[in-house]
């Protein structure tokens, strides 16, 4: 017998009575506030930032101001040029040189300040989202969903994306004596730009 069949047979022999353990209906609990204010509060808690325009500033002007030293700015959105397009990166080795990556998230989750990215937003190179030093995420307020329950119930991406990441602020660690360090292995900062 293969290990597969042996494992399944043993599970069938040993399991508790399935009739005694019904599956509860899908839960839709918690605070249903899907506001931008709640999202921003959660985002701040997890170390993310809002890139706010100064007096009618465009996205590219705001990026130039915020990341003045950036040499390679990679764009994954049509309305912003940057110095290189994500499709042109080709390899992770090239992506590792990117200073700032600009992407658009299909939705955000107010409870967590999370944004979602998948291969649809990171064409040809999912690793670009983690190899870049900084990431700027364009997000529309209208795509905010209240919490994790509503996100999993409502968003089709969880069923269609082959790679789907919820990023909640930048990469972080507290593995050395409990001290919080933002920018561990992945992005050092994550900024949200609200779509006008």
């Amino acid at each position: 017998m293969s290990s597969r069949d042996a494992i399944l047979a043993r599970l069938r022999d040993n399991r508790p009575d399935p009739a005694a353990h019904a599956l509860p209906p899908v839960a839709r609990l918690g605070d249903m506030d899907a506001s931008r204010a709640r999202f921003e509060k959660s985002l701040a808690l997890l170390g993310g930032q809002v890139l706010a325009p100064q007096e009618g500033e465009s996205l590219s002007a705001a990026i130039a101001r915020r990341f003045a030293d950036a040499k390679i700015i990679c764009s994954a959105v049509p309305e912003f040029e940057g110095t290189v397009r994500i499709e042109e990166l080709g390899t992770p080795q090239t992506a590792a040189n990117v200073d700032v990556l600009v992407v658009r998230a299909p939705f955000g989750i107010a409870e967590m300040g999370s944004i979602f990215l998948s291969e649809a937003q990171l064409p040809t190179l999912n690793s670009a989202a983690h190899l870049t030093q900084h990431i700027v995420v364009i997000l529309s307020e209208s795509t905010l969903t209240a919490n994790m329950h509503t996100a999993y119930i409502e968003r089709p991406e969880f069923h269609t994306a082959r790679y789907g990441v919820l990023m909640s602020g930048p990469s972080a660690t507290a593995d050395i004596q409990g001290v919080l360090v933002r920018g561990a292995q992945g992005v050092r900062t994550l900024s949200v730009w609200w779509e006008q």
Binding site: S3, I7, L8, R10, L11, D13, N14, R15, P16, D17, A20, H21, A22, L23, P24, V26, A27, L29, G30, L45, L46, G47, P92, A96, E111, M112, E119, N126, S127, A129, H130, M148, H149, T150, Y152, I153, F158, H159, A161, R162, Y163, G164, V165, L166, M167, S168, S171, A172, T173, A174, D175, I176, Q177, G178, V179, G183, A184, Q185, G186, V187
Partner: protein, 467 residues
């Protein structure tokens, strides 16, 4: 040769002697417990979430064969290669073969307790595969050649100077630089080239979704995403108990995992893998390694609900004062003490006794595992299987007999109204000896309650009756 039981008490004693490490360890984990409490207070539905999480997990475990088959079918449809491993050896062989087929000589991996169970690094390294842990805490433990001491914060028993020393040795950094920010930066700089050059990447999986054939990995550093997306080959090691039926069930679990573990609302990264990218390959290895056997243990199967948040460790007053390594096992703390004996009853026979059974672990468990009840039940099982030390068995047997015979019992304490005659000399001078090492004995008294009562109540009552 018989395996020797882990001497938790002795290891804990050594841990306690090092005051700076002990104090930090206790305070740090207590702080995580406090942060977890704050998060709980912010969610009025917390207890309802715990109940749901428990019900979903119990349902899934009772229907595990069907859900595993459903997962397998969907994962294959998505282009994932699915493997099954009955035990650690088979898991390691499967991973070794995948790597060999691709000519992969370097493997970067994120934290996975299952690969620790399997001793995978020890298997792969002699076969010419360089395995690099990419989680900072796990990497620290790898460099120090130690097991993780905690399932979420693997190097929580270390202080900054310990890390500075290790990094100086391996990364040639300044041994006197003990700033956590700069040490973490050193790890980033050291890890990047290894990640970029790796032939293969490996992750674990926090949740496995039957409905979609997906698995979910929760991390804070982004190292799992790097390990999975940079090389063209991703292998995920998944414990078979990690299944949930529906994608929407994740709402319940993701809301509680990081809140329970670290007191943060969510991990920085919650990543859903449903299939390989074009030009890449994705494998999952479904690992049993004793789980199907545990499912048949009436009193202990619910330990399979565990989502590895570590909340029981953070709250455990014994764990906080003994350190994870003192358990001598992959899983430490309260959850370890009820899981480890299923791997090796004799070796881990001491662990269910490394507890005061205070019950705090049960209260913080997000999936409502009755941890302290299981500790109590394990003690019975171990006693019945003769896995208790001889002296303890003898003392209990003797005490049991004495306490069943009031006249003998009274005789044993009469004449010595003072205290310690109560205890048979054998017990006192052998087994109970440690009491006085760091504690005073109770003060002797002139009269037991028993003789006070006879003197002050029975006599007066009789007088009353006479009158």
């Amino acid at each position: 040769m018989k395996v020797k039981p882990v001497n938790h008490a002795r290891a804990a004693e050594a841990f306690i002697k090092d005051t700076p490490h002990l104090t930090f360890h206790d305070e740090r984990l207590w702080d995580l417990r406090q942060k977890r409490d704050q998060q709980m207070h912010e969610l009025p539905e917390w207890q309802e979430l715990r109940t749901l999480a428990s019900q979903i997990k119990e349902h899934t475990l009772a229907n595990l064969p069907e859900y595993l088959e459903q997962f397998e079918a969907n994962a294959k449809k998505n282009g994932i290669h699915v493997h099954w491993a009955a035990d650690g050896a088979e898991h390691n062989r499967i991973v070794g073969e995948i790597l060999e087929k691709h000519g992969a000589k370097s493997l970067i991996k994120s934290k996975s307790m299952v690969t620790e169970e399997c001793n995978m690094r020890e298997y792969l390294e002699p076969r010419g595969v360089v395995v690099t842990e990419t989680d900072l805490g796990e990497r620290i433990q790898q460099l120090d050649n130690q097991m993780p001491s905690h399932i979420v914060v693997p190097a929580v028993h270390k202080l900054t100077p310990d890390v500075a020393k290790l990094f100086a040795e391996h990364y040639h950094t300044d041994p006197n630089d003990d700033d956590p920010q700069s040490l973490a930066w050193s790890q980033r700089l050291a890890a990047r080239p290894v990640i970029l050059a790796a032939d293969a990447g490996m992750t674990g999986g926090n949740f496995v979704v039957a409905e979609t054939g997906s698995f979910v990995v929760c991390t804070n550093e982004g190292n799992a995403d790097l390990s999975a997306t940079v090389p063209g080959l991703h292998i995920a090691t998944l414990g078979i108990e990690r299944l949930v039926p529906r994608m929407a069930d994740l709402g319940v679990f993701v809301r509680m995992l990081s809140r329970s573990a670290l007191g943060s609302p969510i991990t920085q990264y919650t990543t859903h893998f449903r299939g390989p990218q074009d030009g890449s390959e994705m494998h999952v290895v479904l690992v049993d390694n004793g789980r199907s056997h545990r499912l048949g243990m009436e009193d202990f199967w619910t330990s399979l609900k565990c989502i590895r948040c570590g909340a029981c460790m953070n709250t455990c007053p014994v764990y906080r004062r003994s350190g994870g390594l003192s358990y001598g096992a992959v899983y430490s703390g309260p959850i370890g003490a009820i899981i480890d004996p299923t791997f090796n009853e004799r070796k881990y026979s001491t662990l269910p006794f490394a507890s005061t059974m205070n019950g705090s672990c049960t209260n913080v468990c997000p999936v409502r595992i009755n941890i302290h009840d299981q500790l109590y039940k394990w003690r019975r099982v171990l006693a019945e299987h003769h896995e208790l030390p001889f002296v303890k068995r003898e003392v209990m047997n003797m005490a049991g007999r004495l306490l069943g015979q009031p006249k003998l019992y009274r005789a044993a304490i009469s004449g010595t109204e003072t205290a310690l005659g109560v205890l048979p000399r054998f017990a006192l001078y052998n087994w109970l000896n440690p009491w006085g090492k760091n504690r005073e004995l109770p003060h002797p008294v002139k009269q037991t309650f028993h003789s006070w009562y006879k003197q002050n109540r029975l006599k007066t009552k009789k007088k009353g009756e006479d009158a």
